[in-house]
């Protein structure tokens, strides 16, 4: 099968970043092709915990995160479903005085960003959260944070983009990308050739290969979530929960299942695939019972894992390439990209249309790794 497509922008990777970017660009009047080697939203965008959380992010991520915060309530109008998004609140527990002090310090650091954090300590904890049976020194609540169903959001963005006129090519692996005089030529799938003026690399854990192809070596590593899901149970946990200094996080979905995570899964021989770790799952399960004793007799019905990308400084790469005009990167969200992704899509749309964005993204420039790459190369 031979097919030629000519568009303004091609996007490699149909995760939540790529699919929301596709929709935003199409709405801005551009012609767009969205290409994914598998199915849109089937990797990190679909296998993450589903936390729509601003609390705990580094200050440099908060303008982007706040922008996303304004998008999430509009999903129904944008993509046709609300994706089970709820502003349940995100409660972060501190088990020790030291951890509680960290929560207080964080609240102070981000005071000007408008998260509305509420610090609750000591005996007030039981009054404020009567359902909470775990022992804790204190907690920080971000009342307007929440959660959504990760399996649904990115596919719905991709379908909405398709309805708006984006050419969505799933099961279509990109085999070769070359620069042409005025843009890029992409060979993908079974004889598909895409010509575009601008190119977005939002290929998640596979982005480093495309970046390296354009001379931008990045220290991307893969991480694998390890998730545990219980059978549906009566609704009782009203917030999405996390722990300062711990690795447990959990929420109860509308259907009643507790979705909980912590620790890391393990890659298989083919590192594109992973499995939940029994060790990690066991510790999540033990912690769950300590936090929610009423779950002691609950049944766990499934585990899951997936592939995500992490950068060494905990921040993603978002912005223009430093080697290649017309190329933009957006990847490496370190297991925390679900909430910000719809805003990243808008930012990418602004970058390809205007060359700049209203949201500060300097901290995410790919150039910050140039020095690291050079040093690494030298030490080899």
């Amino acid at each position: 099968m031979s097919r030629r497509i000519s568009v303004d922008v091609a996007i490699i990777g149909g995760g939540l970043v790529g699919s929301s970017a596709a929709l935003a660009m199409r709405k801005a009047g551009l012609s767009v092709a969205l290409v994914d080697k598998g199915y849109c939203g089937a990797q990190a965008s679909g296998v993450n915990y589903g936390g729509v959380r601003r609390q705990g992010r580094s200050p440099e991520q908060l303008p982007l995160s706040q922008r996303a915060h304004r998008i999430w309530p509009q999903l129904k109008a944008m993509i046709g479903i609300d994706a089970e998004y709820v502003r349940s609140g995100h409660l972060k527990l501190a088990r020790t005085e030291k951890d509680f002090a960290k929560l207080e310090a964080y609240a102070e650091t981000v005071r000007d960003y408008g998260l509305g954090l509420e610090i609750v300590g000591g005996s007030a904890l039981a009054e404020r959260f009567p359902w909470l049976s775990a022992k804790a020194v204190g907690a920080s609540l971000c009342p307007d944070d929440g959660h959504a169903n990760p399996r649904l959001v990115a596919p719905a963005f991709a379908r909405a983009a398709e309805r708006a006129g984006v050419t969505v090519l799933e099961q279509t692996a990109v085999r070769e990308v070359t620069t042409t005089g005025n843009g890029f030529a992409i060979l993908a799938g079974d004889g598909i050739e895409i010509r575009c003026r601008q190119l977005v690399n939002s290929a998640g854990a596979w982005s480093d290969r495309f970046a390296a192809h354009f001379g931008e070596v990045v220290p991307l590593t893969r991480i694998y979530p390890s998730m545990v899901v219980t059978e549906p149970l009566p609704l009782r946990l009203p917030v999405s929960m996390g722990e300062q200094g711990g690795s447990f996080y959990g929420r109860q979905v509308a259907r009643g299942n507790y979705v909980m995570g912590g620790g890391r899964g393990l890659p298989l021989g083919d590192p594109d695939y992973s499995r939940p770790s029994v060790t990690a799952a066991s510790s999540v399960m033990q912690r769950a019972i300590a936090l929610f004793p009423h779950l002691a007799d609950a049944q766990v019905i499934r585990f899951w894992s997936g592939t995500e990308a992490e950068m060494p400084d905990g921040n993603p790469v978002i912005g223009p390439s430093e080697t290649t005009s017309g190329l933009f990167h957006a990847f490496g969200f370190c297991g925390a990209g679900f909430q910000t992704a719809p805003a990243v899509g808008e930012v990418l749309s602004e970058l390809v249309t205007d060359g700049c964005t209203t949201t500060p993204i300097q901290a995410f420039s790919i150039g910050r790794f140039r020095k690291v790459a050079v040093e690494t190369a030298a030490s080899l």
Binding site: Y39, A42, G46, R151, L152, P155, R159, V228, T230, E231, R255, L266, L268, G269, R275, P276, V278, A281, S282, S283, V284, M285, Q286, A288, I289, L295, A296, D297, A298, Q299, V300, I301, R302, F303, W304
Partner: protein, 467 residues
């Protein structure tokens, strides 16, 4: 380390018991893990409390086989490490060593294995129709289990429906047990039974038994209908009857029949999740419309230390399971350089049974037009309470062509049973909507835990140390 680990057999049905027997004869001491409380598997399931019934009354024509197998197992007990009521819920990835995660008496253990023989058996294949989740509707296998293991029936006035040899056998067993059999509703057309003629040449005993059951049912005045399609279970909180269509010489008739219980099923589906977690390669089997672990005549899989036997490696019945259990053990012994009696005769015996199964499959065909007529409001996935309409809508609006994608976008197969009950139906629905063959939409990837495990087990992890 690993040379000190024992071989492990999962399952103590006909395949697992015969595999263990052959390993013991060669001087090995296998660990035999079984989810059941007593060995025998589903087919030769034993009562938890002896109820005074004889083998003949419990197992009918298969009494001698059942007794031989149970005795063989009891003789093995001093020479094997037998662990009943033990659920194997995970197998570590091939890259991460030979470890099984098991749940036994509420505690989690990890058990290492040198080689693994998976004899995981089968469950009923169910297809949804309006009202199939009404209390009083059972699978054929479950209704037989009630009789064998608990000495009770699923109702007093029972209708049997579906396709497969079990249909007539269980109906006859219920009649013998004193239940009133209101009807046997065969979904296959009567013309499909002509294949039994050719089967009679190869397996006269099977055909004679089948004819005997059918004849006795008819003599007792039991209504037998062919070419049946169920329309609805009558009754809300309990089965009160069934409305169905049936093909007649000219046109169709809609009939209703009163009953207080309905047993139905469409042959069996293999339990293959552990083979999947072990990393075995799978192939699509067009006859049974299911993905199976690739195996050679002996039961060797694509993984050199994992063997499969019995219905879990492809539905072939209890006799074939006994043979294939022995074969898998023989292969294990040969592959590890141990002497084992010649197994060529067993290969021939198994092949003969497989040929009979092919003919049986034609006499009891799968109703491949099922999903053209299943109404939208029918429950497709009972764990997640997804209707056929929601499944169809998800397929259409998400341009879905692959079964795991259907699971992700609709939750079909995501619940407590992890698709063990609904995946056959979901696969048929999806392939029908896509206009492709059942095999082309793929198979649900197995995920641990293969069956639910208590959240509280995490507090009691015991690593097994063997010296």
């Amino acid at each position: 380390m690993s040379e000190r680990l024992p071989p492990v057999i999962v399952g103590a049905g006909p395949a697992g018991i015969r595999a263990a027997e052959r390993l013991v004869r060669a001087g090995l001491r296998p660990i035999v893990l079984d989810e059941g409380q007593r060995a025998g598997g589903q087919i030769y399931r034993r009562p938890l409390i002896e109820d005074g019934r004889s083998y003949r009354s419990r197992y009918g024509s298969e009494a001698d086989k059942a007794q031989r197998l149970h005795r063989a197992f009891e003789a093995l007990l001093p020479d094997i490490d037998y662990r009943p009521e033990t659920l194997v819920w995970n197998i570590s990835a091939p890259e991460r060593g030979n470890q099984l995660d098991v749940l036994s008496s509420g505690a989690h253990r990890q058990i290492g294995f040198s080689q693994l023989i998976l004899c995981t058996g089968a469950t009923d294949r169910v297809l949804p129709f309006p009202g199939w989740t009404t209390p009083g509707v059972y699978t054929l296998g479950a209704s037989q289990t009630a009789l064998k293991a608990q000495g009770c029936t699923i109702g007093d006035r029972v209708v049997f429906m579906g396709s497969g040899p079990l249909l007539y056998l269980v109906a006859w067993q219920y009649m013998k047990a004193g239940a009133r059999v209101e009807a046997v509703l065969d979904t296959a057309p009567v013309t499909s039974k002509r294949h039994l003629l050719s089967l009679a040449v190869h397996a006269p005993r099977i055909v004679a038994l089948g004819l005997f059951y059918g004849l006795q049912l008819q003599l007792a005045g039991v209504k037998i209908r062919y070419g049946v399609r169920p329309e609805a279970v009558l009754g809300g909180s309990q089965v009160e009857g069934l409305r169905y269509r049936r093909r007649k010489l000219r046109g169709e008739a809609v009939e209703t029949i009163a009953c207080d219980a309905l047993a139905y099923g469409f042959a069996l589906r293999p339990e293959t999740q552990l083979a999947d977690l072990a990393g075995c390669r799978f192939r699509f089997d067009a006859r049974d419309r299911v993905w199976l672990p690739e195996r050679d005549a002996f039961g060797r899989t694509s993984r050199s230390d994992v063997y499969v036997a019995g219905d879990g490696s492809g539905i072939a019945g209890a006799d074939a399971a006994e043979v294939s259990g022995e074969l898998a053990a023989a292969a294990l012994l040969e592959d590890t350089g141990r002497a084992s009696a010649d197994a060529a005769g067993l290969v021939t015996a198994r092949e003969a049974i497989l040929r009979q199964r092919d003919i049986l499959g034609r006499a009891f065909p799968f109703p491949d037009d099922w999903f053209e007529t299943v109404p939208d409001e029918t429950t497709l996935c009972r764990c997640e309470e997804i209707t056929v309409a929601e499944g169809r809508r998800a397929i259409a609006s998400g341009s879905i062509t692959e079964i795991n994608r259907l699971k992700a976008l609709s939750r079909v197969g995501m619940g407590r049973c992890q698709g063990r009950m609904c995946s056959a139906a979901a696969t048929e629905l999806l392939s029908g909507a896509c206009g492709t063959s059942t095999g082309e939409v793929g198979r649900l990837r197995a995920q641990a835990p293969v069956k639910p495990i208590p959240l509280g087990f995490g507090g009691r992890v015991e690593a097994e140390v063997r010296s």
